[in-house]
Point group: C2
Chain length 281, copies 2
Amino acid sequence: MQVAKTINEMRALRKKMQGAVGFVPTMGYLHEGHLTLVRESRAANDNTVVSIFVNPTQFGPAEDFKKYPRNTEGDLAMLAKEGVDVVFMPSSEVMYPVYYSTYVQVRKVTDRLEGASRPGHFEGVATVVAKLFNIVRADHAYFGQKDAQQVIVIKRMVEDLNIDTEIVVVPTVREQDGLAMSSRNVYLSKEERQAALVLYRALVLAQQNWSNGINDTETIRSEMKKLIESEPRAKIDYISIASPDTLEELKEVYQGAVVSLAVRIGKTRLIDNIRLGLSKL
Amino acid sequence: MQVAKTINEMRALRKKMQGAVGFVPTMGYLHEGHLTLVRESRAANDNTVVSIFVNPTQFGPAEDFKKYPRNTEGDLAMLAKEGVDVVFMPSSEVMYPVYYSTYVQVRKVTDRLEGASRPGHFEGVATVVAKLFNIVRADHAYFGQKDAQQVIVIKRMVEDLNIDTEIVVVPTVREQDGLAMSSRNVYLSKEERQAALVLYRALVLAQQNWSNGINDTETIRSEMKKLIESEPRAKIDYISIASPDTLEELKEVYQGAVVSLAVRIGKTRLIDNIRLGLSKL
């Protein structure tokens, strides 16, 4: 496994690759969710590149950029064990030099949900992903369904800007008890970790209600709300039942609709989602 | 010469190319300025691609998108004669389908001059050029110094987004009497065509003053202003003497500084510029 720290190093390693290239962009502090993306890439491509970059531009001023968890040595050991070919690990100065001034905006779909709660977040995401895609020039890039809106934003950007990389979406990986894997789970105390299960339980409830023939979103949403509010440590940021293409809220639910939620557990903000009738729970 | 009208057609032709690829993006209505770019590309590359696309997103609502001059048949004949390999000629619907919502913004350098006079113009330019670069994947792309700020914006974007295409800037091509070639010159009446020479004459005057040892911008600028105001058909939009990297206005002039101006002649807005001590006049 080779590690590239500059863009020129990464480009040089890329030029030597033959056959299909798969790419897994990450912010590090890797868990089983990331490794699942890596395995998908390894299975479908001749070469796999993983990037580790905690991207400052996608964090708001009051967000957790500085304390975002990092574990470079552990990450590299895991990736080596998975058989990754190249890890791209640039510094902020490499990605955003002094005169940096270009930003990619995906409009409309970013007005809602995470975009509304975290102004500038998706501009940061779209910009860094555009840069990484131009540097790595992968045939396939792997993203987790866990970040449902991110997936929609990146697919929109890739199609709009005619980027020649195919986006592959991989189902959310969960702990045994259902909690979606996330680097931010490390922030949770033992009691909060238990309380955090309400996200999963609310999604299971939505799925059950839909399976039982309930298809008006207000009923499904209010049942989810009631369940989450029964947990005193949980504070709802949003509950959304929306179109998988545009993220516009729905009045009537259909198979494939995105049920997503953001909930604060103590100081930690967690998100999760399912595609109704499609996600395995 | 082959003509591609869809992105898939263009990509298929691109895949067949071997060796270096040069690219000349244009809005058509080609003149000797464009053909000079084509010849530079032909001389330095194994393949030359020219795009013809009047990009709606770079025109303001009150600007001349609809009446922008077009001459597809004439353009294609000229390009065939120059030995161009592929012409990419997409429709607006191909470039901006219904759900289109992604835009590229280059900040700071676009706040001034053309960016200030034409809000949204450079966002449209940066976006369409990012798209074209992703579709054509050229080794070299050719732009005229005539659009000085456009060159700076595109260089900035290419560097910031790590696009693997080298920007080659080609000196402005002028008519015998000095008028910079532009598709918009066709709008000028005979009297206006004569009046339009004040742009060139003002630039020559700036160059002379600098050669004579004058290096405070206020003197150079006020002399240019006086000259242009002596032409009753001319109305100054701006006169700028600025850094070639950031376009920030200078107090003292140095070799390579960009002297640029925008002047309305009747209803037609013309721009021109020189790099002090570098441009041939």
